[in-house]
Symmetry: C2
Subunit: 402 residues, 2 copies
């Protein structure tokens, strides 16, 4: 892992007064010193926030220079004033950084239904722009400005090499609840200094998100604001053979690195899930199609009974197998097998004698729980990450008010 | 409400030793003194229990005489021995009550994956058969033999009159968790002494279940054992004009009564939901189709964020509106309005000024919470009942082991 901004990117995060704690940044700014290819993948919620509508209209683009982010208030369900506010934010960034106003993307996360405190936002944007830096401390401030109930900043960075040039891919993410597949209050910005063409960037991001950020779940609640952005500014140099695209094997190297960064970031979200005591990996093998495998994985991952069983270190295979049964995917129950933490507990439709105490002990002692369900209907597979469900999650979410 | 067996039905519930508490019945038997029309609606879970497979094969039938029920062990995921065991149960009832072995339906509820203690079951069936009665105490024992984590017995009875004859419809149900739409560890037996033909009974039960038992949710987990049975023995007399069917208006009276009994029973399940402090009624109006209304209602009812907000008496309309947005039903977010406990909190896509303290107070002080979401896309509507989600639910389900 190489935790640094890719070449040509700088950033900053400042406290503008949206969050009550003065030690916590709530406005972040990322600036590329040259125009970047920018593509996005957005929430599938019909009720989407103003910044999502704004970014959707601007991307894909070959001329994005900056991303401004605020946390604390989501600017969702805010009507036409919300749309005005997001445009105003982009305008202020343009003024502060001498950009065209169509060169800034906007992300917001936090409470739904409140209007942004625009004076504070303006002060925050100006303060962030005045002190942009490419050092690691600035990267840390930038990601902290995105955080809400996250307990740890989520940054991942990796290098790849092609044509004698080292390229960097760095991703920042936030999210700890209202996380469901199809993205839910989850924001991520992935930056690279590799020269990636528009179409290649869009395809790579969509395919990667489908298998990473869209395969995580904390509570299954798809949020109004989810966004994953990819910015590629080509600042590290290199000769893309077609337009700005790295082709063939070099592009494969980029895609592999993007996948690793996104997979790590995606996992870090349920790993930091509100009140969670287990990160649960649900692997579904032997399906006819990947879509069916995802559907079964999501159903198990979202089952309250499965999640509470894992919180209680209970190898309750009945809840897992029965959750698969109502996923809406056809399979023969007589061929199903299940492993918990590597131990076979259910084989071809029937429970097997296993040491329940040993499995329970391994669940209690490890923060990671692995479920492997094999349907024996085909060769497609999928992986899904989720959390357990604890009394602490309920406490946090019963007390967090509008 | 008239809490009695319909004419010609008797029942009993005994403690056979499946449950550890000797004060709790765990084997129940219902006997009709003549052949009854019997129809069933069953779980849609692919992983279904042995008694579900058994009853599915026997119904619809015009010659059912009895229903035997055990609680404590679900006889689910038990392979071919499970099938043998359920046949054996029907056989023992036939011997004890002098019936044909194809005249008994079997219901089981409880732990998944354990085999039934058949000697205890045999003792229980014989003891129950030896002391069948039509009095109210026997009705109470019968329903208690179905209970698992239920805290209250669920019995509803109503009369209707047609052609000068009084008919009785009495329903028994159990269920407090693993409750999702499409039925989840939920058992119900509805008995009537009206002469209802096979096809009329099947249609009436299916249509009624779709709007009652299939519109409740505690945790969205569809169980392996869900079953609703309707037995009509015609013992109260009357001249069905076609076969054994009450036609036209008289049949309407039966259907209306069946609906009331099933609606009351269905509501009583989330009202008794594990750890629940609120019974939540989610009404969705202004949809294009009823199916879409149900889909939106179910999505809101199953949202952990909505359920925890209600537990915390938080009028968090953002979570409710955003849950509707990811239901997979197309609508215009700018036309959506929401009332919580009768108070308008969100109107045509934007929050309205409302007294949050007053709404919160009404949520805190009432055990029932009402959500009314209006999409303004059409004239179809649906109602859904669910519970809030409390730390107590998580505690119960993290501690209940295999």
């Amino acid at each position: 892992m190489t935790l640094k901004f890719p070449t040509g990117f700088r950033g900053n995060g400042v406290h503008a007064g949206i969050k009550s704690d003065p030690g916590k940044p709530d406005v972040s700014l990322i600036l590329s010193d040259r125009e970047a290819v920018a593509v996005g993948v957005y929430t599938q919620n019909l009720v989407c926030a103003a910044p999502v509508t704004f970014d959707r209209a601007l991307t894909p683009s070959e001329s994005i220079r900056s991303v401004v982010i605020n946390s604390g208030i989501a600017n969702a369900c805010t009507g036409s004033q919300g749309d005005d506010d997001v445009r105003q934010m982009a305008q202020w960034v343009a003024e502060a950084c001498k950009l065209d106003e169509r060169q800034t993307l906007v992300l917001s996360t936090g409470l739904i239904g409140s209007h942004l405190p625009m004076e504070k936002i303006k002060t925050g944007i100006d303060a962030a722009a005045a002190n942009l830096s490419s050092d690691e401390a600035a990267l840390d401030r930038t990601v902290r400005g995105m955080m809400t109930t996250d307990t740890v900043p989520k940054i991942r960075g990796r290098e790849f090499q092609t044509g004698g040039i080292h390229y960097q891919v760095t991703g920042l993410a936030k999210g700890a609840a209202m996380i469901g597949p199809n993205m839910a209050t989850m924001l991520a910005v992935v930056m690279t200094d590799a020269p990636i063409g528009l179409r290649a960037a869009q395809t790579a991001l969509q395919e990667t998100v489908a298998e990473t950020f869209n395969c995580i779940s904390v509570d299954g609640h798809t949020s109004t604001n989810d966004t994953v952005l990819l910015l590629a500014n080509g600042a590290a140099g290199g000769q893309p053979t077609q337009g700005r695209t790295l082709e063939g094997r070099p592009l494969d190297a980029f895609r592999a690195t993007l996948y690793e960064v996104c997979e790590d970031l995606a996992q870090s979200i349920p790993a930091d899930g509100e009140g969670a005591t287990h990160l649960v990996t649900v692997e579904i093998h032997g399906c006819r199609t990947r879509a069916e495998a995802v559907k079964v994985g999501k159903t198990i991952a979202d089952s309250l009974l499965v999640k509470t069983a894992i919180a209680g270190a209970d190898p309750n295979w009945g809840r897992i197998v029965s959750a698969a049964g109502y996923a809406g995917v056809p399979f023969n129950p007589q061929k199903v097998s299940l492993h918990i933490n590597g131990m076979l507990v259910y084989e071809r439709g029937a429970p097997v004698a296993f040491d329940a105490e040993e499995v329970s002990k391994s669940m209690a002692e490890n923060r990671e729980t692995s479920l492997l369900l094999i349907l024996d209907e085909g060769s497609a597979a999928a992986r899904f990450w989720t959390t357990d469900l604890t009394t602490e999650y309920v406490r946090l979410n019963a007390e967090y008010t509008t």
